[in-house]
């Protein structure tokens, strides 16, 4: 794709547990992010979606893999290049309580990235802070307040302002609305969409909430035990899930509409420990269609229809 601005290929992140045991938190993950699009990684806790987000920004160093940013190899970035890369890639975290420094007023929090990147003089910085904070809906008389004086939703708005002030191309949003009440969640989701239009940013959106993901995403990658098992356009994924895990995941989502009664596919058991990943297909231990082949070899993510990709032996076309 010509408008791809960022891509990762075969990204792998291993952690050591003790001296010998290796946990493959992220296993050969590849995806690309296009201009002004929202790509979501979904999955349950421990599937590696947050680690993928962090490794893609090199907030934690990937063990191996390729990160391409505008056709340049971001794995080789050092010094000034790296700083520039960081300026274009920002992040919003799940917990707005712990991601804002409690001892700084919010205008200082939002100004700090500008100081670090040596952008503008004092007056320019202040003007920019005021502009961004008003944009996310913080009143001028609240600028000198501390984070604890704000509600959860407002704190998440401040986090957004801090990420946006550097004019990034990509913002990684790691569960940005999970900690918020439903009525506040809608406000923040609307804001995310509006900011995307106003600032032309792309989002790498990480979430476990399927309804939220459907609403916000253009494309979705479903992760299970460190692997992307299916990837498709949002509409397509919900209309036609191909991987048995995606099917079960979608059927388990309780919809806030009593008319939607789904045939529920109950998954038995739990996600295996990443220390002890099953041979072959990682999902086979909970899969209703698992065959011998699934235990023998690991299915590759292959394209089945346009932009729909799935990693399953049993899907034949």
């Amino acid at each position: 794709m010509e408008d791809t601005i960022f891509s990762v290929k075969n990204l792998t992140k291993e952690f050591y547990s003790g001296r010998k045991k290796i946990i493959k938190a992220v296993n050969n993950v590849s995806f690309e992010l296009r201009e002004k699009e929202t790509y979501s990684l979904v999955g349950e806790s421990g599937c590696g979606k947050s680690t993928t987000g962090r490794a893609a920004l090199r907030l934690i160093e990937p063990t191996s893999g390729e990160i391409m940013y505008h056709g340049r190899d971001a794995m080789k970035f050092k010094g000034k290049e790296m700083l520039d890369f960081r300026r274009r890639m920002q992040m919003v975290f799940q917990d707005p309580y712990s991601s804002l420094n409690p001892r700084m007023t919010i205008d200082k929090i939002v100004e700090e990235p500008l100081i670090i990147h040596k952008l503008g003089n004092k007056a320019e910085r202040e003007a920019k802070v005021a502009e961004i904070l008003s944009k996310v809906g913080i009143r001028r008389d609240q600028f000198k307040r501390y984070p604890h004086e704000f509600s959860g939703g407002q704190k998440q708005r401040i986090s957004m302002a801090r990420a946006l002030i550097l004019n990034p191309e990509i913002i990684v949003c790691d569960e940005p609305v999970s900690a918020l009440d439903v009525s506040i969640q809608a406000q923040v989701l609307n804001l995310l969409k509006k900011l995307q239009d106003d600032y032309n940013v792309s989002y790498l959106f990480i979430s476990h909430d399927m309804s939220v993901v459907k609403y916000i995403s253009d494309r979705i990658g479903v992760m299970y035990l460190g692997n992307i098992v299916e990837e498709a356009d949002a509409e397509d994924l919900f209309a036609n899930p191909l991987h048995p895990y995606t099917q079960a995941l979608l059927s388990a989502v309780p919809e806030a509409d009593p008319d939607i009664r789904k045939e529920r596919i109950t998954l038995h058991g739990e996600i295996p420990s990443p220390l002890n990943v099953p041979s072959g297909c990682p999902f086979r231990t909970r899969c209703r269609y698992a065959t011998e082949e699934c235990a023998m070899s690991k299915p590759e993510l292959r394209t089945v229809d346009g932009s729909h990709r799935v990693a399953c032996h049993n899907y034949n076309k």
């Binding site: 989701l189 079960a248 529920r264 998954l267």
Partner: protein, 323 residues
């Protein structure tokens, strides 16, 4: 007579700024084999309601005051001596919480904790209690229960811990189970497993269940009757299907519209309720939702509407729009 009748329950806490009424005149009934949901956002008083029914707040220093009645099989358990309440707690009414790791004792095995509960309420030997504990763990779907009975809470996964806590709550076959956000901390596939189990308890054993949650999806999929709370008051109650299709109170309407479902149109912004939930201590005499309500009139700011029947039978709403 219903199994549990809560009548005009009012719970106030002593704070530095005087008494604050956390829930104000909550009334509802739970019948045998009924599953009732209490819906609301953080701070609406849904957990205070359940913990008041259980009387879990320390009462020795007068820091909490209850008014109204909680009738369990006709007996007012809100005003019996605290010690007598201990006989009901766990035995007749049991509770499960959101955070199983914080609710189980980390220095005892799950088996020990179930055995303790059994031996407090029943006259059985340790050996019998242990067998019973294994049976309970099996019932809640813990594989290899004979081994897991000796596991400490930290050795179990989130879903397993929730199951162990449910086994503990079920140990004395309570008639009422209060489930306070039982699946909030869990992944969707595990949430589906746990909800299935709770629904089965309700059907098979005829256990009355109060499900407290902020997740409208869980309510829409599993419950028949629900109450919506806002700032310590019930603002709407009724049949789930009717309420989700034709919500009446502006808050319920906003709440239901603001949650995206897989049918939501992506190109339109989500509906939002303006502002944030105000502080309880700032609540005035008027309707508690008036600051955020699109339909608020002069009257709403001075006078608080009462919960009145509107629409179908059994449907009540607290709003002047329906008078």
């Amino acid at each position: 007579m219903s199994l549990l009748e809560v009548k005009n329950l009012k719970t106030s806490f002593k704070t530095l700024r005087g008494m604050v009424t956390a829930i104000d005149g909550v009334s509802f009934n739970v019948d045998k084999d009924e599953m009732v949901a209490i819906i609301g956002e953080s701070g609406c008083g849904k957990s205070v309601t359940s913990q008041s029914i259980m009387r879990l707040y320390p009462e020795t220093d007068q820091s909490v005051e209850y008014e109204g009645e909680v009738l369990f099989n006709g007996e007012d358990i809100l005003h019996i001596p605290f010690k007598e309440m201990a006989k009901h707690r766990g035995n007749d009414i049991a509770m499960i919480f959101q955070d199983a790791l914080a609710s189980l004792n980390p220095v005892f095995t799950v088996g020990d904790q179930i055995i303790e509960a059994l031996r407090i309420h029943k006259k059985i030997t340790k050996k019998e209690a242990r067998e019973e504990a294994i049976k309970l763990l099996e019932q809640t779907g813990i594989p290899d229960a004979a081994k897991r009975v000796d596991a400490y809470p930290h050795e179990l996964s989130g879903g397993m811990r929730q199951r162990a806590m449910i086994a503990l709550a079920l140990s004395c076959r309570p008639q009422i189970l209060i489930a306070d956000e039982p699946t909030t901390a869990l992944d969707v596939t595990i949430q589906a497993q746990i909800m299935e189990m709770i629904v089965n308890l309700n059907k098979e054993y005829g256990m009355g269940i109060i499900l407290i949650t902020h997740d409208l999806g869980v309510v829409a999929q599993h419950c028949k009757r629900a109450m919506v709370m806002y700032l310590g008051q019930i603002v709407e109650e009724g049949d789930v299907e009717t309420m989700f299709k034709h919500p009446m109170h502006p808050y319920t309407k906003g709440l239901i519209k603001s949650v995206p479902t897989t049918k939501t149109d992506k190109d339109k912004p989500l509906y939002t309720i303006n502002g944030v939930v105000p502080k309880l201590s700032e609540a005035g005499d008027g309707c508690r939702f008036c600051d955020r309500c699109e339909h608020a009139t002069e009257r709403c700011f001075h006078e608080c509407p009462s919960l009145k029947a509107a629409g179908e039978e059994g449907h009540n709403v607290r709003c002047f729009l329906y008078e």
